[in-house]
């Protein structure tokens, strides 16, 4: 079953073209890593799905439903999405506990008791128990990122979108987070993530999407990627694709002159 489908998604920020007609479909239950250089549009894809960014054209489908402007505005579909943004500087005078309560409150979650138990589990996993009642402004960047992770996972959503999830985390927390991701994966959740850490990608993802300057250059499993490029590591494989692409670009460029 396809859970996410992007059809010819285009987005410009001013004169900068961030997504140049991206089409992509993601099967439920898979973990998809979107790779690409900085500014290639990885985050914009995630934000488009969340309704944070309004695409100029193209269609977004989620769980077989077209996300119209109205649906995006209503936002009910986001009940099923957990999002872990790259940077998390939240309301400084709130405590982590208040923050979690606030989001829970906003989500109108009915099974609140059970959730609390799960949240407890999550906070224990990240060693946040002693940090919950401190104002967020006193927490370190890594700790905030852990709170951020709890926020994304606490509702056990069908789809998790994790933007550079391990960035800023200490090795233990990072590996805990990866365990958590794998556990969720095992429970059949769909996970979309971006990362610059190749080992993480190798460890976590089923599918790799290579995005360069708003265009998908490759989409497939790791093995397909390695096979296609005749390289031994993802890193080299990607580098090769990018290299061939850039020489082609230069040629195109010269040609157009």
């Amino acid at each position: 079953m396809t859970i996410i489908e992007l059809k010819k998604l285009k987005k410009n920020f001013g004169t900068l073209s961030v997504l140049k007609g991206v089409s992509l479909s993601i099967e439920a239950g898979l973990t998809v890593a979107i790779l690409g250089p900085n500014g290639s549009g990885k985050t914009t894809i995630m934000k488009s799905l969340l309704g944070l960014v309004k695409p100029d054209s193209g269609e977004l489908w989620f769980r077989g439903e077209l996300l119209t402007a109205k649906a995006i505005n209503d936002g009910a579909y986001r009940q099923n999405i957990g999002y872990m943004p790259q940077i998390a500087r939240f309301e400084e005078n709130m405590t982590a506990r208040e923050m979690l309560a606030m989001v829970r409150d906003i989500r109108n979650t009915t099974a609140s008791h059970q959730l609390t138990k799960y949240v407890e589990e999550l906070t224990r996993l990240f060693g946040l128990e002693t940090q919950l009642d401190k104002p967020l402004k006193t927490l370190s960047g890594g700790t905030r990122q852990k709170v951020n992770a709890v926020l994304a996972f606490m509702f056990e959503p069908e789809l998790l979108m994790l933007d550079e999830p391990t960035a800023g985390l200490d090795p233990i927390a990072a590996s805990n987070l990866k365990d958590l991701i794998l556990a969720e994966k095992k429970r059949g959740r769909t996970i979309v993530l971006t990362s610059h850490v190749m080992s993480d990608i190798e460890e976590l993802s089923d599918i790799i999407v290579l995005l360069v300057e708003g265009t998908i250059y490759f989409q497939g499993s790791i093995n397909e990627l390695l096979g296609q490029t005749q390289e031994r590591t993802i890193e080299r494989a990607i580098a090769r694709i990018l290299k061939s692409q850039s020489t082609k670009n230069i040629k195109d460029h010269e040609h157009s002159r």
Binding site: N93, M94, P135
Partner: protein, 268 residues
Amino acid sequence: MNTAGKIFRYQLRAAVRSRWVLLYAGFFFAAAEGLLRFGGDSAKAAVSLLNIVLMLLPLVSILFGTTYLYNARDFVEMLLAQPVRRLSLFTGLYAGLTVPLMAAFVIGVGVPFVTHSFTSSTPSSGIDASALTILLFAGVALTAIFTAFAFLIASLCEDKALGMGVALVVWLLLGILYDAGILAIVWTFHDYPLETPVLAMSIANPIDLARILVMLKFDIAALMGYTGAVFEKFFGTGFGLALSASSLFLWIVLPFWAGIKVFIRKDF
């Protein structure tokens, strides 16, 4: 409770702990207390306070509001990733900022006046309740207006430095340049009866309107001679009060509404 209400509630709780809000309340408290203690009678203190309110309150509200929304960018993104309508979020955040600022002002200014009215021995130094009420009302309205502008500006301008600049310009326009314009018009068209146009222009600017409403309470109408008489007569009528109230209301609603329009279309 709806989502906006929930967001407002949590924001309110956070704002109470914000040292900036406390500082803001403390500033008004110190100013009012100082003026009452060392500045003679309460009418005079209220006039001095009027200057502070008209100058600083809009400036602080617009700059604080603009900074606030820029700094809350990540927070806003996180909340927008939840099943929340943008309208609810905008309204909740706006109320969550504006109400604490209003409360800080009202408490900061009101408490010294009320305590002084209880403790002072001479009746003449007791507060003029109606003047204080108007002053507080004006301050509350100005807070709402300039935070609405702040949210509009912060939603409109991606760049924080630009946004702060625009906020400053809006304040300059309404707080200073507008009056320069009035003076220029009075000067240029001095051969014509100007009371009505000046009246209209004053009502059209929230800072001027607030100032005149408070001034009329301090008997300054007498000082203004014929102009004052026209003003006093106008603002004494139900129509005048209704028009003033609608002007202030529009000044809150229009930037707020524009802010929502921009906020809803905006990319994060």
